[in-house]
Symmetry: C2
Amino acid sequence: MARRPPSAPLAAKWQNLAEGRCAERGERLTPARLAVYAEMLAHDRPLSAYELIGLLEERQKRKIAPLTVYRHLDFLMRVGLVHRLQSTHTYMPCDHPDHTHESQFLLCSSCGQVDEVESTGLETLLAEIASERGFRPDNTVVEVTGVCGTCATSEQT
Amino acid sequence: MARRPPSAPLAAKWQNLAEGRCAERGERLTPARLAVYAEMLAHDRPLSAYELIGLLEERQKRKIAPLTVYRHLDFLMRVGLVHRLQSTHTYMPCDHPDHTHESQFLLCSSCGQVDEVESTGLETLLAEIASERGFRPDNTVVEVTGVCGTCATSEQT
DNA sequence: GCCGAGAAGGTTATAACGTAACGTTTTAGC
DNA sequence: GCTAAAACGTTACGTTATAACCTTCTCGGC
């Protein structure tokens, strides 16, 4: 019997979401995969792959190879539970979990928070730009770095 | 007297552009910086920093440290002559050199060509999305990966 | 000319991010 | 139980980027 690795607490909401997503696609949600997802949800900011490794090693009291975590991250992205932020080489759980979609991100360089936005207008416009040029889009990255409303307000010294 | 390092051939057009950009900002366009820029212009696709190092080492017959090239790239980006592509960790000269602007990129995963697009509509929309949320944008990354028109056409087997 | 301040460049080392190759374990279906 | 395929683990390595520190060059004032 496989011993389930210690995992960060995971609200039923997320657990159910993860199970649903995997079931839809005939993918297997293993304890190791769930542990990575739970660890990401336990923090309120994007984490780098190596930060995740450190956190998981500490929680599970054992060595974890980078490849292991990268595979779990690839899986979680494949089923749409996790996004990769290209600008910062970090990963975060999807905030709009109700359906598959393209996302855009607002990254605050002051507090590190990331706002996941879903603008159909933007998606449409991007699709037009591509199709005008005969370009067939596959994957779209939209990441705006700047200062979020909260930080901008508290900046007024 | 400093010996000018061997540099890729550089059309007067680009040389003038580079000189103009630097003059505008009171920045110094040194031979080493120009050599990196010329090397990028000598290839018709984005190059990684380490590809660039290899090319420059071959041309100049000497060892070049990564940091050197990264500094030159930072400089060239600062003055607006070069863009970084986050999706592929590569760098390319700016195609729309007439003025400073935000750019969007269409990256063909088949042939490697990158189309630099400048859509004011998209910029406006992104600005709206940000301002609705009180977000003050600083830097925007828009990169669409897919298959370009040329490759899509020749794909029809 | 020469001298000082600051920018630019060089050197060495290392941190951070990501993958290849290969073997073992687990799981689902029979 | 048996088998095939997926998942997992281990070792090693490749790629991308930066830290710390020192030397060289350039520009302006004298």
